[in-house]
């Protein structure tokens, strides 16, 4: 196979910290190269140097081999957006950068310009071009004239990829995908992969950045592992297994923890859900007893994605009851749920969890300020003390209690939100995708927090698309299909294969979507 780009001795130093230290990276033509590492390992800095946002430091150099005029390779200036563009290196960043109110055709035109007829925009040709570009990725079902805000997540990702590629049919050499599946539900990931494989067939190389190691094994030919700004190794994906990859990423063996089995005691209390209806949920009955951790699995549309929002009052339910201990929770009333002893984390940390511009302290204490209300004053000093305690207890990496929570990494933000819930001493803890977008190391720490909460007597419900996670934390798992809980797995039956088979089993019930 031919080399496409070779990067040598890439170094990027910020005052007081070396983000990338002498990293070498070779990308082959027509291959999919995965870039993995924990948060802070230097992945994003590397992408930012490639796209020209950061300038490299020192001896860094790169050579580009796809220029027919220079078969022996020509130097590529790093840290310059125009050079990267001219070399056919295209980027799809994590948040996609689409303009919500514009159509797919218009978003694509933002990249390459509109097709003009004289001085006027030729709308029909624009739409045709967008349709062609998307069809090339295998997406023929997108209405290119509708605002992208109305498209499904996988369709939006496709539009972003198309925007990166349209107008570059022959010139696109390397497509950089930064966490492209971060906002994709499980089934949509497969559509994206199909598109990636089509590109590969066209000879485009892919640099694929992801936290999801399963995806890396599925899609990548080669993988480069970064840790603390240093390249640990580059190797063919066939030479690695899951455990070994994690070990290389975090620098030591991760003990594979499996949840111990736990017999139901028949205790009352905890969380009781009866006849719950709303959205894709169509009649759920469930009891989680104190000290028990119940996992909820199910594909998108199975009702799994709406179960926690309905239980916690994030969205209104149509029918049914939710009881915490002996208290029936009012419909659509998160404040009532909290007051009754239920604490919860919503799935989308950014929009439903953190108040990004507010400090770590304010975010932590928001759900219960009364304990620091003394003599007609909110005692900020006591709050600071408590915040420090939680920062230590949850090993939150932060430069202080007063910095905006938005400046923390995703895993640390999530830990602050865990603190927000745990300090309420909840009798019921309800978690939705508790570790989405969080790296391997922080993930295990959060799983241990879940264990601890259950040991302290909380009834815990965990809904997750991450089947590994469910196996790791849950004492028993219920599987949803067609809005109902149709299977329950415990003990030795509770493994990834069984859960995924149960999620996809086709039966007459699963047809409400």
């Amino acid at each position: 196979m031919d080399t496409l780009i070779r990067i040598d001795h890439l170094t990027k130093a910020f005052p007081g910290q070396v983000a990338l230290d002498d990293v070498n990276l070779t990308i082959w033509a027509g291959s999919t190269h995965a870039l993995v590492g924990q948060n802070g390992s230097g992945k994003s800095t590397l992408i930012k140097v490639l796209c020209g946002y950061h300038q490299p430091t020192g001896e860094s150099s790169a050579t580009f081999f796809a220029d027919p005029a220079h078969p022996e390779g020509r130097p590529l200036v790093l840290g310059d957006a125009a050079t990267a563009d001219a070399a056919g290196i295209r980027f799809v960043h994590q948040d996609l950068g689409l303009v919500e109110m514009l159509s797919a055709a218009e978003n694509i035109a933002l990249g390459v310009g509109y097709v003009m007829r004289g001085r006027r925009i030729d709308w029909r040709k624009n739409s045709d071009r967008a349709r062609e570009g998307l069809a090339g990725l295998g997406f023929t079902d997108i209405n290119v004239d509708m605002p992208v805000a109305m498209l499904a997540p996988s369709q939006r990702t496709a539009v972003a990829i198309a925007r990166a590629l349209v107008g570059w049919e022959d010139g696109a050499h390397l497509l950089v995908l930064d966490e492209p599946t971060a906002s994709l539900p499980g089934d949509d990931v497969q559509r994206l992969f199909a598109a990636v494989r089509r590109l590969k067939e066209r000879g485009v190389s892919i640099l694929y950045v992801s936290h999801h190691l399963d995806e890396v094994f599925e899609i990548a030919d080669e993988v480069t592992i970064l840790r603390d700004g240093v390249r640990v190794t580059t190797t063919s994906i066939g030479d690695l297994d899951h455990e070994r990859l994690i070990e290389l990423m975090i620098g030591h063996r991760l003990e594979r923890v499996v949840q111990s089995t736990r017999e139901r005691t028949g205790a009352t209390g905890g969380l009781t859900v009866t006849g719950l209806y709303g959205g894709t949920v169509a009649g759920v009955d469930l009891h989680v007893e104190p000290g028990e951790i119940v996992g909820v699995a199910g594909i998108m549309g199975s009702g799994r994605e709406m179960l926690v929002p309905l239980i916690t009052g994030q969205i209104p339910s149509d029918d049914g009851s939710v009881v915490v201990g002996n208290t029936a929770i009012d419909n659509y009333a998160p404040d009532h749920a909290l007051a009754s002893g239920m604490a919860f984390l919503a799935a989308d940390r950014k929009t439903l969890g953190v108040i990004a511009t507010d400090s770590v302290r304010h975010n932590l204490t928001l759900a219960d300020l009364r304990r620091h209300w003394r003599r007609w004053r909110l005692r900020h000093d006591l709050e600071v003390v408590e915040t420090h305690e939680w920062v230590d207890r949850l090993s939150i990496k932060t430069a202080g209690t007063e910095i905006p929570i938005g400046a923390l990494s995703g895993g640390n933000q999530q830990k602050v939100l865990f603190g927000r819930s745990l300090r309420l001493m909840p009798s019921v803890l309800v978690l939705d995708e508790p570790t989405s977008g969080i790296d391997v190391g922080a993930k295990e720490e959060i799983h241990q927090l879940i264990d601890e909460a259950a040991r302290n007597g909380a009834a815990v419900l965990v809904a997750s698309t991450d089947t590994d996670e469910i196996v790791r934390v849950a004492h028993r798992v219920v599987v949803m299909r067609g809005g109902q809980m149709v299977d329950e797995l415990t003990g030795a039956d509770m493994d990834v294969g069984n859960i995924e088979r149960a999620q996809l089993r086709n039966d007459s019930k699963a047809g409400t979507k």
Binding site: C51, I355, T357, D358, L378, I403
Partner: protein, 368 residues
């Protein structure tokens, strides 16, 4: 650019930034500008530093704008705009004046009726914003015209003066203290309403910064849905803040009635701009978000600046005042946003430690 993450000692090498930090040019810029006005106009204008020349005038006159600015500030903490405050101020004023002119009701009762009417408007604003889900900007902009119509129904144009009793006016206008400054013979005095205003300042500062209520209001403004899922009653807070806003605007009208004992149809709405400007200018001060003392500082910095200009260019002040107010707002907020942008870039470069921004000039567009 404050260094949240390092002590001033650690940034000593970057001498210039260290000094900026220590003197607080960023967080107290308005106070420095105010000091500059006092030095400059104090030297050039004889009347500027005299109590009766300008100080008393500015201190008392601007109590009204301060109250109106608070009326804008309170709902803004929950990310709700109330643009009906100017009209609301006029409503309480026209009610108390008209009742004083045409009925035998004690003026104090008339004032309470005026305040009550404003609070009813606040309830309606809340109904439209919270229950009907209309964008607060639109809802209150529309409401301001409804209130204007109401005011005109109550009094059809023209001026009313001297309709209020001395007892009523003295309740606000009487001097709390009055003495002669030794040597100059200057009469130093401040009226009751100045201190009423001061009490409102302190109460509002206490509520917003030192109670769970204030914390919850700012949380609502920061991320409404996240706040709701943390048990904050966001709808009730929004609604309540609109009622409080109307009450404050009504109180501004009452102070106006004490101070001037007059009503004309041009009172009220024109004060919306200075009030809003003071809140945003004030938000660039002290804490980097809308806050009570920053607003007070902003009101008085602008006022002393305008007074100084008025003394120096008495004939041009008519057009210079709006120019000065407008430019100050743009420049102050512009500087504050620039600092916010630099901070954000710093954090993107490195999430943990303080990092000088090596690529401030890099185009931001390539970032995302």
């Amino acid at each position: 650019m404050s260094n949240d993450t390092t002590t001033p000692d650690q940034v000593a090498p970057a001498a210039s930034r260290g000094i900026v930090n220590r003197l607080g040019f960023d967080r107290f810029s308005a106070l420095y500008v105010l000091a500059l006005f006092f030095v400059f106009f104090g030297i050039t204008e004889d009347n500027f530093l005299r109590w009766n020349g300008s100080i008393e005038f500015v201190l008392t006159e601007k109590v009204i704008v301060t109250m109106l600015a608070f009326a804008f500030l309170v709902p803004l903490t929950t990310q709700t705009f109330d643009l009906s405050i100017g009209a609301n101020m006029a409503l309480s004023l026209v009610i108390v004046t008209k009742l004083g002119l045409e009925t035998d009701l004690p003026n104090g009762v008339g004032a309470l009726i005026g305040m009550a009417a404003c609070m009813v408007i606040g309830l309606l604003n809340g109904l439209v914003v919270v229950k009907f889900g209309v964008n607060s900007f639109i809802a209150t902009l529309g409401m301001s015209q409804v209130i204007a119509a109401l005011s005109r129904l109550i009094h059809d144009g023209g001026q009313i003066a001297g309709a209020l009793s001395d007892t009523y006016v003295n309740f606000g206008k009487k001097d709390v203290f009055s003495f002669s400054w030794p040597g100059t013979g200057s009469e130093i005095s401040l009226p009751y309403y100045f201190f009423y205003g001061l009490i409102v300042v302190v109460i509002l500062w206490y509520v917003l910064e030192h109670t769970p209520l204030g914390r919850r209001m700012f949380a609502t403004g920061g991320n409404r849905e996240a706040a709701r899922l943390s048990g904050v009653a966001v709808d009730r807070l929004t609604w309540g803040s609109l009622v409080a806003s109307s009450a404050l605007a009504g109180f501004a009208g009452i102070i106006y009635s004490w101070k001037f004992n007059a009503y004309t149809s041009s009172v009220g709405p024109p004060l919306l701009f200075p009030a809003v400007a003071a809140v945003f200018f004030g938000a660039s001060q002290l804490r980097g978000r809308p806050n009570v003392w920053g607003t007070v500082i902003a009101v008085y910095t602008l006022a002393f600046g305008i007074k100084g200009i008025g003394l120096r260019y008495p004939r041009e002040i008519d057009w210079m005042q709006p120019l000065f107010e407008g430019l100050t707002l743009i420049i102050a907020v512009g500087i504050a946003s620039r600092q916010a942008i630099i901070k954000v870039r710093k954090r993107k470069g490195n999430t943990v430690t303080d990092v000088s921004p090596p690529e401030v000039n890099a185009p931001a567009a390539t970032e995302t």
